[in-house]
Symmetry: C2
């Protein structure tokens, strides 16, 4: 029993912790996480300022937790997308689709990452850069197995992987900035992303040949 009934308290604590993280994400949408105060977060989470410390040592630690949560969300989405059969039929169209839809679903997380990547505290910034670097390396492994690319040098593959991730980040930024319910703008961004990827892929085929 000691372990089974002993849940309710942990569960409540976890709920509050998540409320704090959600509050930070929501408040950050307006002016950026870096300018949100501890008191604002606590207020919005329906908790007294001092209670914040039961969950995070500082705002920086909250920021790091948000980085972690954001990237795990992103990775989960990509993993799910890879199971989609459409992905293998037309990889470019599918990637553009997945990108825009994923960002729309977890706008707050993407907004957090894209803003704090450059505007956040040094600690949060470093964490995001590290995650993005990991991402580039992961994508490089996938790319290295594609035709046209398998003979490239490691450096070249990394470079092209960076190019893709960069464009992914930029496109995500655009979707984040996009006003809600504007299907026309959304389609425009998707179309732009498709064209950019197609152009880069065309470059692949002739690289150093």
């Amino acid at each position: 029993m000691t372990e089974l009934v002993g849940e309710s308290r942990q569960v409540q604590k976890e709920r509050t912790r998540q409320a704090i993280m959600d509050a930070a994400l929501a408040l950050g949408q307006q002016h950026g996480f870096a300018q949100v105060s501890l008191r604002q977060v606590a207020r919005h989470a329906g908790v007294v300022p001092t209670a914040f410390y039961r969950h995070f040592e500082s705002m920086d630690e909250l920021g790091l937790a948000l980085v972690e949560q954001s990237f795990s969300t992103l990775r989960r989405m990509i993993r799910e997308a890879q199971r989609d059969p459409q992905m293998f039929e037309n990889i470019i169209d599918a990637a553009a689709e997945v990108l825009v839809e994923s960002v729309k679903v977890s706008k707050a997380h993407f907004a957090f990452v894209s803003r704090e990547r450059v505007g956040g505290s040094p600690i949060v910034r470093r964490a995001i850069r590290h995650e993005l670097d990991l991402f580039v390396s992961e994508l490089a492994v996938v790319l290295a197995r594609l035709p046209n690319i398998e003979s490239w040098s490691t450096d070249d593959v990394q470079m092209v992987s960076r190019l893709f991730v960069r464009n992914m980040v930029s496109n995500a930024e655009e979707v984040v900035e996009m006003p809600d319910h504007r299907a026309d703008l959304e389609e425009r961004i998707k179309e732009g992303a498709r064209r950019q990827m197609r152009l880069i892929v065309l470059g692949f085929e002739r690289w150093k040949s």
Copy 2:
């Protein structure tokens, strides 16, 4: 005489104004302009907080002035670079060189733009986006005259122009983040930029053909 001698006062005012802008730029390097306070700026500029209001109505107005100054610096650099004969021999190598060197020279301005582009106040952010959009259009005009591109649709040219500007922004961000006096890193960024541009140009040649 009324106009000739009446300079010293304006000149002094202009000097203070510039001191305030320099202070904001310097302080912003650490944690981003958006989190710099009016009092910090005034202190760093060697002036009492209230004197700030003689030059700017608010921090947002200061931000807009910095956006303007940053982009006029950037445009001047590009104009000068276009006079360089090397530019016409190998446009890609020259562009990579100019990019890295320009950013190094006015690091503070580029850092300001790249951070506040996403992290700043809505007003400053909008101003930067507008300037960057102008930039994309300007570059599109130049690109439209290149071989391989002259037959493209306007939309396609805009798209490829966005691709270039995006990469310029990303590379500038990297140079800004780069520690000083690291010639190796610098060369690495330049080489990365060259490869990316070459890859994109290769795509040009086969686009829709």
